[in-house]
Amino acid sequence: MDRVSAHLPEAVAERYLDRAGGAWAVIHAQHLPKVAAYLKNDPELGFKLFLSIDAVDRLQLADNDPRFEVVYFLYSLSRNEHVRLKVRVTEANPQVPSLVPLYKGANWWERLTFDFYGIQFVGHPDLRRILLYDEFQGHPLRKDYALRDRQPLIPERPIKDIFRGPGTSGLS
């Protein structure tokens, strides 16, 4: 991460080293492709193995503005190092540049993050839901999405046992 902040000082907002020794940095959204390209293509860094993307809805944490945090996990085979990039986006404008042109593996992970959190990846070739069905309303991993909210495609029979379900909770 030292190299990144030296090379692209404008991109890095904060840098951390967590208890378990993982290095991570908060990147400004507009600089994300640049940072990722640098990490991937610099011969000494070589963060080529794309592990995954996910997001965190910070709604119930103390510091929750901006609300979403998109987290990228990269691994360098040559350096044997994991690195985490974070991009913070607001609820009103959850847009992050897509990394699909850089990493093919980002494709499905971005779809997954879009599916669960509604993060828009600008420049993604085919941004649609991946695990849930297209008719699904809302984004289930947002903290304000109720745990027991149900959106059945086929209507369910109401069942009185609200603790065990299935079916509507029995409440209006």
Binding site: L51, Q60, K104, L132
Partner: protein, 416 residues
Amino acid sequence: MSDPSKQPEALNPDTDAYAHESELETHLQTKRMYINMGPSHPAMHGTVRMKVELDGETIVKADPEIGFLHRGFQKSCENVTWTQCLPYTDRLNYNSAMMNNFGFLNAVEKLIGLEIPERAQYIRVIASELHRMHDHLTCVGATALELGGFAPFLYAIEGRELLMDRVTELTGARLTTSYGRVGGLNRDLPEGWIPKTIKSLDKIQDLMVEVKGLLMANRIFVDRMKGTGLLSAEDAIDFGFTGPCLRAAGVDYDVRKAKPYWVYGQLDFDVPVGEHGDNYDRYIMRLEELEQSDRIIRQALQKLPGGPIIVDDWRIALPPKPEVYGTIEGVMSHFKLVMEGIPVPPGEVYDSTEAANGELGWYLVSDGRGRPYKVHVRAPGFPILSAIPQIIEGKMLADLIPTFDMINMIGGEVEQ
């Protein structure tokens, strides 16, 4: 076809002899065909629906549609205590449930900053490798079955059953083990388990000789495996392959070696690396890893130290039952741990272990309240499955089956 009313001189293919002759020269005119493979298809492991566009037998476009097994893993985990997440992790890769258990626990322990007792580390290694063998046996057997060989499947499944029996003795469950707790394990090895396990391993070695004999020189099997499902090392890295599929492409990356966890650093084993990145190499990787797992288990069983199997800290591990029933301290600790969960300090961690199919990564965020704030699982099968269109487009439909088998996609973990 041309409109006869506009072109009266046009040849009538049914009556005109010349037409027959010219048709012999041209290719058979076929339409593109769209077929659905799955979600209920014997060769689609789990429940994946593959929308395939076929030109003859060549796949022009493949679009895997997943999510039929989606269970809301993350959302469920966010609403239960850390310990209660364990049964959910069983259902991720149901062929190697204990590896998911331990991977999750390892990440939680990292977040707490906890070192587990050595005996627990050894047992975790042993159990993980048992389940790695279990996973690979299933994969190899199922591949053989789907390529038409029923006998190797039976041999492999017999070996798997032996492992399952051992796992049952160890954990009390065949499939969904929920073995292990934060800070260690929930129970010790049962009596007489070690010799039984060694016997089972011997038996599996015999069985593998049979399987190899049936498959390695089998023309049909080898022809369908060799050269199919090719993916270059560069692409594999770009897609985020890990595990046997990445190593088959010639990239030497194994979390057990790269960042040794538990006692893997003290054990002697090799990581096989392939060179072509085709299905046959993946198959060889799995056979080879079976041998290596066998080695690891034998070593670990030999070195297995005595001692406790779980940390002695009442903020993390449940107190022993006599204490719970007999002292107020014990009952309080038990009550708080069960009702509110382990007070994991606020923070976040990314941690990975080598599961049967590759790097199983966990990104956990805690807000310090006894329940996970966020549980992200990097299922190894997910990026591998995402490469299927790239691998298979332009290839034959028949290649899809071995490819799909050898990437060993597990619906549970991919679809969370």
